[in-house]
């Protein structure tokens, strides 16, 4: 038993380690870019709504349409569908570099949506109080809207991160590697079930860890 475990790790530890690194790379980079795009998009989506500070029907409907369209496409289709776009932005369509673009296209609108629902929770009265003090809209966005919804935003980002980990499994199809890809190629296609079990186990630990961390951080930021 012990011998077989040792043998397993002798054979596979390098591959598994590499896959973990690839997953972290993809999730980390794609998440960072998605936040940079999704957060402002969410703010714009919220503030362009009816009765809001930057009310703009065309912009609001436009953003809603684009976000809904992208969110309707399953990631595996999106991955191939936007290949030319990926090539244009990243210069390649394979490997980790080729996977980042579709992952961002997939995640950013999702973050924008989650952001919107977080921002809409902020009490209208507090925003009004700041308007009444003669404070500029851009200051209100950061110091009231985002600050007051930060606990909810963290929960939203936790959900998106876990969704992103799921999506990276499919990014293996463009040769980006990662844990999901490892489980699929070795575990499923080559019947190396042990590899599949171990990678699935690592993914479970990863998702559990992220969710717990997100919940704790969110609870700490919440003051009511």
């Amino acid at each position: 038993m012990l011998a077989s475990i040792t043998a397993f790790f002798d054979n596979w530890s390098l591959e598994i380690w590499e896959a973990v690194i690839q997953t972290f790379q993809m999730v980390g980079i794609a998440l960072a870019i998605s936040i940079l795009i999704g957060l402002p998009l969410g703010v714009l989506l919220t503030l362009s709504g009816p009765g809001k500070a930057l009310e703009n029907k065309v912009l609001n409907h436009g953003l809603n349409l684009i976000i809904n369209v992208i969110r309707s496409i399953p990631f595996i289709i999106l991955l191939f569908f936007i290949l030319p776009f990926t090539k244009m932005i990243a210069g390649t369509t394979i490997g980790v570099g080729g996977a980042i673009v579709p992952l961002v296209v997939y995640t950013a609108p999702y973050i924008a949506r989650l952001m919107e629902s977080s921002l809409l929770e902020v009490d209208r009265g507090v925003i009004e109080a700041y308007e009444a003090m003669g404070i500029k809209t851009r200051h209100i966005i950061w110091h009231v809207l985002i600050r007051e919804s930060r606990s909810s935003i963290i929960l939203g980002l936790t959900i998106s991160t876990i969704g992103l980990i799921g999506a990276t499994a499919m990014a293996g199809l463009v040769g980006a590697g990662g844990l999901g890809d490892l489980a699929y190629r070795y575990g499923h296609l080559r019947y190396e079930v042990d590899v599949m079990y171990v990678t699935v186990f690592i993914l479970i630990i990863l998702v559990q860890g992220i969710q717990t961390f997100g919940n704790r951080l969110s609870a700490r930021l919440k003051k009511d």
């Binding site: 308007e131 003090m133 404070i135 500029k136």
Partner: protein, 344 residues
């Protein structure tokens, strides 16, 4: 100080247009506490939000110190708004910020120098009596304490005007009283003009110098608080006065007593509330007064009392007694059940 000129506000909804304010003009003088009272839906909330243009008028002008707010650019309006503090029924504090941050953040955002922020926060927390709660979060405070933080936040900008939007409506009677005392102190010691709206007559009674009564988007009555109490003209005003002075006498009793004399209402303002007027009446005339109802209330500047009295005796003696009372400075009126058909 604040002047509303012919303000009309129409809210458009899909089904119909609602006129929230209908040609309202109002002048709040510097240094006064001006109350606007009305039932919900009267338009008073819309009116106070016009003062700093949180709500823009459909027609009409708003002036602050003679400068027209309704003409200002966004940037100028923001500067003008910093001279007008505002507090709300729901306090509207940052849940994620401590008491200190709640006051300091808006100061920072309006460009107050760092060094001064700390001084101001401490100064105004001391005025509202919350220095010991500097690092507490709003969730750890009571309603009254939250409102004190909101008041400190407003005062920290050193405004000329404080707008109070139903500031005590969410508070219990004791807390309401302490907040009202604080507002009164702010007015007299810091010289800040206060415009407040409320649906509670006791707020008007205890701290306002002047009052306007609103109904259906219009100001139906306006003047000194004492005049509203002693001589309310409109049905709405009478109902508000009655909420403090409930001097309704059962109809049956009134009918009975009318046979043996007259029922009159006697209002005592300021000094006249001190004299034993009724005792003197019994001595000088062939009249037996009996008190059916009596109330006294401390208005901001003077006490105001009202008695409903049955004057038993002949009509001519009653007439003489009433004239005598009038000479003493008592306001004498024939009794009528005020606002009877409306009081439920």
């Amino acid at each position: 100080m604040i002047e509303f000129k012919n303000i009309t506000k129409v809210f458009h909804t899909k089904s119909k247009d609602t006129k929230a304010l209908d040609d309202v003009s109002l002048h709040v003088k510097k240094g006064t506490i001006f109350g606007v009272i009305g039932y919900s839906g009267a338009g008073k909330s819309t009116l106070i939000r016009m003062a700093n243009l949180l709500e823009k008028p459909t027609k009409g002008q708003v002036f602050l110190n003679g400068k027209e707010l309704t003409k200002m650019s966004r940037g100028d309006l923001n500067i003008a708004r910093q001279k007008m503090g505002m507090i709300f029924q729901s306090f509207n504090l940052l849940k994620t910020g401590t008491v200190y941050e709640n006051i300091a953040i808006p100061l920072k955002l309006t460009g107050v120098p760092k060094k001064e922020i700390k001084e101001r926060v401490n100064k105004y927390l001391e005025i509202v009596g919350l220095l010991d709660k500097t690092n507490a979060y709003p969730a750890q405070l009571s309603g009254g304490q939250k409102q004190r933080v909101a008041i400190a936040r407003a005062l920290a900008h050193e405004p000329e005007v404080l707008l109070c939007d139903e500031a005590t409506s969410a508070l219990d009677p004791d807390t309401t009283e302490s907040i009202l005392a604080l507002l009164s102190k702010i007015n007299s010691e810091l010289g800040i003009t206060i415009l407040l709206i409320t649906h509670e007559m006791n707020v008007v009674q205890s701290i306002c110098h002047e009052v306007a009564v609103m109904e259906n988007g219009r100001i139906v009555e306006q003047g000194k608080v004492i005049d509203l109490f002693s001589q309310p003209k409109t049905e709405t005003a009478k109902r508000f006065v009655q909420s403090i002075f409930n001097d309704k006498i059962p109809e049956e009793l009134v009918e009975n007593l009318k046979n043996s004399g007259q029922i009159v209402t006697l209002s005592f303002i300021g000094q006249s509330s001190g004299k034993p007027a009724l005792a003197m009446v019994t001595k000088q005339f062939d009249i037996f007064p009996s008190i059916l109802s009596g109330n006294i209330a401390q208005l901001k500047d003077e006490p105001y009392g009202r008695l409903v009295v049955h004057l038993e005796g002949s009509a001519s003696e009653a007439e003489k007694a009433m004239n005598y009372l009038t000479e003493l400075g008592v306001i004498v009126e024939k009794y009528q059940n005020r606002g009877e058909s409306h009081v439920g």
